[in-house]
Amino acid sequence: MGSLLKNRGWVIGALAVAILFPFVLPNAYFLHILTLAFIWMIAVYGLNLLAGYTGYLSLAHAGFFAIGAYALGLLTVKTEINYWLALVLACLITSAIGAVVGLVALRTREHFFAIYTLCVGYIIYLVIDKWDGLTGGVRGLIGIPVPSNIGPLSFETPLSQYYLVLFFLIFTVLVMYRIVHSLTGRTFIAIRNSEDLAQTIGISTMKNKLLVFVLSTFFAGLAGALYASFIRFIGPDIGYITIIFDLLTYLLVGGIGTLAGPIVGTFLIVAVSQSLQFLQDYRMLIFGPLLTLLIIFYPRGIVGAYYDWRMKHTAKKVKRTRKEQRYFESETVDAEKKVKEG
């Protein structure tokens, strides 16, 4: 388990870069891409809690992302309630639908859970696409307002939106850190380890699985809502199957079941795919084989590989100091012998 203290350098470094970036490189295009990446990271964190820590691979999360986005969009455009109230409601609506889906979905396991949630995700997409009266169907929803002012803070500019999303990302990471390092987090890991074993020590697995499912849809919904108010236009595409596989790729490349994985993976893939923009769809010819190699050699992604490397490194160090100690001890014993003999 990587503790926050041990990685303090990394955490402070990443935070400083994220905060200072807009001043060092004032580029509207980069700012836009990074803000989007942060939004994806929040969604990937939600997926990570469920798929990475609890071992339930949900493929419905693009659907929940879309529910969050549409909930916010519809509430602000059609009912014109306060933006922040709408944001909270959007997260709650997503979680509530998550709870209902979870109640059924969590009765299945492994492949069947993945397939079932894939179907749920597609159904959510279809509902959004076909329910013209509510969602606007393929035409989508336009005119979603930017977040309303909090006192003197306004969120009209892309820069202020960047910091708003960054704030929510930091909030997400802190919540994840607290969960993973608590008994609740270890309960999720215990369920991933072996559900039978978890049950024999008295864990109600259904209750905990439902809790983690709802939590993870909450963050998918939050990401969706932020997306809606950042892009200000949403169409049914955001709930489509390809989105969940994007999220999953970010998670796998970064490191499934690690705290830093969602940030590393999302950032890396977004950066690489932006810089390979000129290759258009041929990019996938590069991504495909790279992803395959990564899964074969580093199943826990880049962050997992880093942890393994560091563990080996410290193990070697310990071995070396022990060897030196032993050498030193044997020398002193020899010396003592000589003294006695002499």
């Binding site: 074993l197 049950q199 024999t200």
Partner: protein
């Protein structure tokens, strides 16, 4: 304290145990003997709620527990220490133990006290408390599994083959510990293939053969029984 009457468990069409009657009194140490696949672990799974019996009743302290969820059964005071030392390998020794006290998670003080008791019973676990459980030796893992089971403060402990795959010297220590746990007030139901060692510390025993109980009696009776001697002790 625990009463199984006429219990059968089926996996699909195959019945793993048929019409079992077992009773365990408070404070006893009772052993289930039998070879691999005789139905000992299935019986344990039925008691702990992982497997639903197809017929029969299981009562614990007078109230029926068959059909209850496993976590409710742990709360009522029965804990299972599964076969082949199932641990959470990536968690540290200490984290594993704390997970064992899950049902008492709201009572911090009690969990800490149980933790101290576990470390007292197995000092080696204290030395290794920050190591990953997967890095322990077989004997240490078994100690951790037992220590973790004790963390739930069970009235009845189900121990499934604690001696499996351990060196003879460690096995001896393990049985001493089990005897101590029993003397300290925990009722123990033990499943074993190592009949001689188990009967030496047990009060009574049941002998399984392909899913049914064929012989039962006190430890002395079983040690003197010819079929038991031939099948399990080799004399």
């Amino acid at each position: 304290m625990l009463e199984l009457s006429n219990v059968s468990v089926k996996y699909g069409g195959f019945s793993a145990v048929q019409n079992i009657d077992i009773h365990v009194e408070k404070g006893e140490l009772v052993v289930l003997l039998g070879s691999n696949g005789a139905g000992k672990s299935t019986t344990f799974n039925a008691i702990s709620g992982l497997q639903k019996p197809s017929t029969g009743t299981i009562t614990f302290e007078g109230s029926p527990i068959h059909g209850k969820a496993p976590d409710k059964i742990v709360q009522s005071g029965i804990v299972q220490c599964a076969e082949d030392r199932k641990l959470f390998p990536q968690m540290t020794v200490k984290e594993n133990l704390i997970m064992g006290g899950y049902v008492h998670r709201r009572k911090r003080k009690q969990v800490n006290r149980s933790l101290e008791e576990a470390f007292e019973l197995f000092p080696i676990l204290y030395e290794k408390k920050d190591d990953a459980a997967g890095s322990l030796s077989g004997g240490q893992q078994q100690m951790l599994a037992i220590g973790r089971a004790l963390m739930s403060k069970p009235k009845l402990m189900l121990l499934d083959e604690p001696s499996i795959g351990l060196a003879p010297l460690i096995v001896e220590q393990m049985f001493e510990v089990i005897q101590k746990i029993n003397k300290d007030g925990t009722t123990v139901l033990l499943a074993e293939q190592n009949a001689f060692a188990a009967l030496k510390i047990a009060d009574r025993g049941y002998v399984y053969e392909s899913g049914s109980i064929v012989v039962k009696g006190s430890s002395d009776e079983l040690l003197a029984n010819d079929t038991v001697r031939k099948a399990y002790i080799g004399a």
